[in-house]
Symmetry: C4
C-alpha cells in the first residue's frame, strides 16, 4: 500500500504515466463525438447538406481548440514527468485532480459547440482550461520543490521561466472571461492570440 512520502521508482512511475496517457488519449478522441452528423430528410440532402456542414463550424472550432489544448497539456505533462523518478501521495493526488480536468474537457467543448456565440459557455471553457493549466503548474512547482522526486536538480532559471509562463497563461484565460462579458468573439480571439504569442516566446527563449 502507498505510504505517505514513500518514494516509488521505475515501474510505478511508469504506471502513473501510462494511466495519464490513456486518459489523455481517450479524452482527445472523445472530442469527435460532439460533431454530430446533421439529420436531413433523404430528398433534401443534396440541397441542404452543404449548408448544414458549414453550420457545424462551432463544433469544428471546438474540436480543433480542445485537441490543441489537450495536446499542449500532454506536451507539458510529458516535460514535467520526464525528470521525475519517484512520487509521493501529494503528487499522485495532484495528478488525479489534473486528470479529472482533462477528462472533463469534452463537456465544455460540447457546450461551446452548441452555444459558442453565448457568454456563459465561453467563460466555462476558459475557466476549465485555466484551472487545468494551474494544476499542471502546481504539479511542476511541487515536483521541482521536492528534489528527492527528481533525477537531478533542475536549472532554477528554467524552472522560474516555466513558473511565470504557467501562471501567465491561466491569467490570460481568466482575463478572457472578463472580455467575454463585452464580446464573445474577442474572448475567443484572445485564446488564439495567446497560443501564437506563447509559441513565439518559447521559440525566442530557446533560439
Amino acid at each position: 500500500m502507498l505510504r505517505p512520502r514513500e518514494r516509488e521508482t521505475g515501474r510505478d512511475r511508469d504506471r502513473i504515466v501510462n494511466l495519464s496517457d490513456g486518459i489523455f488519449a481517450i479524452a482527445i478522441t472523445l472530442l469527435v463525438l460532439d460533431i454530430k452528423v446533421p439529420n436531413i430528410p433523404e430528398d433534401l440532402v443534396t440541397s441542404e447538406l452543404p449548408a448544414a456542414m458549414v453550420s457545424l463550424w462551432p463544433n469544428y472550432l471546438g474540436y480543433f481548440l480542445s485537441f490543441v489544448s489537450i495536446a499542449v497539456f500532454w506536451t507539458i505533462h510529458h516535460s514535467i514527468f520526464r525528470p521525475i523518478r519517484s512520487y509521493d501521495r501529494n503528487l499522485l493526488y495532484l495528478n488525479f485532480l489534473f486528470l479529472m480536468l482533462v477528462a472533463f474537457v469534452p463537456f465544455p467543448t460540447a457546450l461551446l459547440g452548441e452555444y459558442g456565440n453565448h457568454q456563459l459557455p465561453v467563460a466555462i471553457y476558459a475557466a476549465t482550461l485555466a484551472v487545468g493549466r494551474l494544476l499542471l503548474t502546481a504539479i511542476h512547482w511541487y515536483s521541482t520543490r521536492n528534489e528527492r522526486l527528481l533525477d537531478e536538480p533542475q536549472d532554477p532559471a528554467t524552472v522560474r521561466f516555466f513558473l511565470i509562463r504557467g501562471l501567465t497563461i491561466p491569467a490570460i484565460f481568466l482575463l478572457s472571461i472578463a472580455i467575454s462579458f463585452f464580446s464573445v468573439r474577442a474572448a475567443i480571439w484572445t485564446w488564439f492570440a495567446m497560443i501564437a504569442v506563447d509559441a513565439l516566446v518559447i521559440h525566442r527563449r530557446f533560439r
Copy 2:
C-alpha cells in the same frame, strides 16, 4: 496456453496490468459522457442556460464521486499489484471480475445523475462500489495468501490493517443502503464522511 497454477513472470504480469489500466482509463473518461449539454432554443439561451447549468449538479456530483472512486480503486489496485510477480488463473479471473465492475461504474453514475434524489439509484450506486471494493479486497487477500505470487512476503500487520480497511469500507457502503431508505441525502453524506475518515486513518497510520 495458460495452465492452472502455472506461474508467469515479467512481461505477462505487465500485460494484465496494462489491460487493467486501459479499462480504468476508459471507464474514468467515459463518465463525462453522462453530463449532457442542455437542449435550449436559441432565443432563450441567455435567460435559461445559467439555471440549466446549475440544475446539472447531480451529474457533476456523479462525475466527481465516480472519478474519485475509480481513482481510489486504481491506487489500491496499483498497490496490490506492485509486489505481485507472477499470477495464476484464479488471480486472472478475480481481476476480470473486478474490472467488470470498474467498467460498469458509468451506468450507476448515469442513474445517479438522472435520479439522484431517489432511493433505488443511490442503493445501486452504493452496492456497485461495495462489490468493487470487496473484489479488490479478495484480490489482495488471495495474492498475500499465495506467497509464490509475490516478490517477497508482506508484513502481516500491514496485510491485516488493509484487510480490515478493505472490509470496513464495503460495510459502510452497505450501511448507506440501509440509511437511504430513510434519507437519500444522508446516505450520500455517509460516502463523503467515509472518504474523509479513511484519509485521516491512512494519514495517522503512516505518520
Copy 3:
C-alpha cells in the same frame, strides 16, 4: 516499411500487443454504453423505476456475456502471443482481422440487449463470436506452423489440444444458430453450457 516475411523483434511485437490490448480494453468498456438509463417522468420514478431496472435484464445479460467473451478472447490472445517473438505481414493482417471483430462485438451486444428474445439477433451474436474464435484459432495455427516466429517450438500435443478446442467452440456457436430457429432461449443456454464444459475440460486437462 514492413517487408514481407521480414522478422521483427522485441519492441515491434510489443507495439502490436499494446494496440491489441488497447482495442480489447476499449471494446470491453464500451459495452456499458448499451445499458441506457430508463427515461421516466419525475413523479413516476418511485413507482416505475424498479420495474424499469428489472426490464433491462437482456442488457445486463449482454454486458455479462460480451464481457466474458472478450475477456476469454484476451486470455487466449495473450497465451498465443506469449511465445511469439517476431511477426510477418500475414500475422499482422490476421491480427487486424481478429481485432476488427473484437471492436465489432458492442454492436451485436446492443442488438441482443434490444431484441434478445428474437432469432436474428441471437444468430448474429453467435456468428460474431464464432468468427472471432475462428480467427483466433487461425492466428494460433499460423504462428505455430511458422516456428521462426516463435521463441521455441511448442509441444505438439498441446498445440493439437488447443486446435481441437479452437474448432469445437465455434462449431457449437454455429450449432446454437441452428437451435435458435427452434428456441431462442435454448440457443442462449447452449452458450452458458459451453462455457461451463470448456472450463471443466481445461481444468481436467491441466490437473
Copy 4:
C-alpha cells in the same frame, strides 16, 4: 520542458508512440458506435428486422473501410517510427496534426454511413484520408531528412519508393473526389481498386 531541436531518447519516444497507439486504438474502436441498432416496435421485429439489418450496409461498409484505413495508417506509422530514436518539436507537432486527423475519422465515417449515396460525404471522406496520408508522408519525409533523429541512415531507394507511394495514394483519393461529381459509386470503387493495387505493388516490390 521541451527545447527546440533538443533530442530526446528512449522512454520519451516511447511515450509519443504509446499516446499515438492509444488514439489509434480508440478511434478504431469508436467506429462501431456509428452502427446504430434499428428502432423497431416489438410486434414488427420478426418481419422488419432482417430488412433493417440489411439496410445498414452503408454503415458496415463505413466500419470496414475506416477500420482498414486506420489499420493501414497504424502499420505505416509503426514502420516510420521504428528507426526513429529521438524527436524534436517539429516531429511532435506533425505527429499531433496527424493524430488530429486519425481521431477525426469517425465523423466522416458516420457521415458516409448516413448519406453514403451522396457526393459531399464521399468527397469529405476521401479528403480526410488524403490529408491523413499526406501528413504521414510528411512525418516520414521529415524524419528521413533529419538523420540525427534516426538509428541509422535509411536506404535511399526505399525512402524514394515510399515517398512516391505516399504521394500517389493521396493523389488517387483526390482524383476520387473529382470522380464523385459524376458517380458516387465509381468514387467508392476507386478506393477499393487502390487498396488492391497498392497491396500488389508492395507484394511485387518485396518479392
